[in-house]
């Protein structure tokens, strides 16, 4: 019984990694605003004009574990993920050069896999389970607004 408990606890320790993801837009050549104040010495506002486009970009640093594979398999590295936001916003700027980019919110989840769950799922799937992953996921949601459109 004691041996079983030790094995289970050791299995539970699988996945004790540190994951970190950063969202920034250092390569975007236009303001990417957060909050409700759009300019220096400006006042908070609830209406930014007409929304002409929206964006939703996820950045993650996570790993998928497979019993069949010898090593962990990274889904998306932080460096790749961080570039996604720059690329998507740069594309939007090219399509809407006069629009104002505003981030509505930044959502995030951070969690670790429990070794026991992973182990059991791996047993059931015959070692092919790729459903248990762990890490951090960050999602940036926002829109492109144009002044002078139909205001709400």
């Amino acid at each position: 019984m004691r041996k079983s408990l030790i094995i289970i606890m050791l299995l539970g320790a699988i996945g004790c990694g540190t994951f970190s993801a950063t969202v920034s837009t250092s390569n975007v050549t236009k303001p990417v605003l957060v909050g409700k104040v759009t300019k220096i010495k400006g006042m908070p506002q609830n209406d930014f004009g007409m929304q002409s486009a929206n964006f939703e970009v996820s950045v993650e640093d996570s790993v998928v574990r497979s019993v069949a594979g010898p090593d962990e398999m990274a889904i998306t590295s932080t460096a790749e993920g961080a570039n996604k936001l720059d690329v998507e916003l740069s594309d939007l700027i090219a399509k809407e050069p006069k629009g104002t980019l505003i981030v509505h919110d930044i959502s995030f989840i951070g969690k670790n896999t429990d070794g026991l769950s992973y182990f059991l799922l791996a047993l059931v799937s015959g070692g092919r389970a790729n459903l248990m992953d762990e890490g951090v996921w960050v999602q940036v949601n926002g829109g492109v607004y144009t002044q002078g459109g139909n205001k709400k």
Partner: protein
């Protein structure tokens, strides 16, 4: 005769299903920055009071800030326990203290907490998990006209100092003194 305890196969299946459905300890949250009193941009650009686009060259970086907060959750990160309250207020305070007008290069970094990795215990839905969030940025102010540089002036000597004239390095103290005493 000792009666052996028998676990019914159906119970084993139920327990196994419960184990499979169990998730992972963690935390979740959302930041909106709605209470910010100053403009903040995730890029190196920001809009001036005349709606002109200002780059880092048009701004003075007064200070940097870093704010960290831990977001908790239970039921395997499904139920958030923390709010974003405090983040915007902390940034407002830092900008006011620095005498800034806005923030550029704002970045948000999230990372996992060690408590999420507790062996076996992280299997329990009521065990709180968390995610660390760090918000960083540069506090900036617009450069006032002429305040950031002194243009060269090739006239000989120094009869007066104004912000557009060149002052040789060794003559700065003298020039300031002359300016202060109105010797033009």
């Amino acid at each position: 005769m000792k009666k052996e305890a028998m676990i019914k196969p159906s119970s084993i299946i139920v327990i196994w299903c419960l184990c499979l459905l169990a998730g992972c300890a963690g935390g979740r949250g959302k930041i909106t920055f709605d209470n910010l009193k100053y403009p903040a941009s995730m890029s190196a650009f920001i809009y001036g009071d005349g709606n002109e686009m200002l780059s880092k060259g048009d701004l003075r970086v007064l200070d940097t800030f870093r704010y960290e907060k831990r977001f908790w959750g239970i039921f395997w990160s499904g139920i958030p326990l923390s709010s974003e309250k405090g983040i915007a207020e902390a940034i407002n305070r830092k900008v006011e203290d620095a005498g800034g007008e806005g923030v550029i290069n704002l970045a948000v970094t999230t990372s996992t907490c060690g408590i999420n990795s507790l062996p076996l215990l992280s299997f329990l839905p009521v065990l709180p998990g968390c995610v660390n969030v760090k918000v960083e940025g540069e506090i900036v102010k617009t450069k006032t006209k002429g305040s950031s540089y002194i243009a060269p002036n090739h006239s000989e000597g120094l009869s007066y100092i104004n912000i557009d004239e060149f002052v040789p390095k060794g003559k700065i103290g003298e020039a300031i003194a002359k300016n202060l005493h109105g010797e033009n």
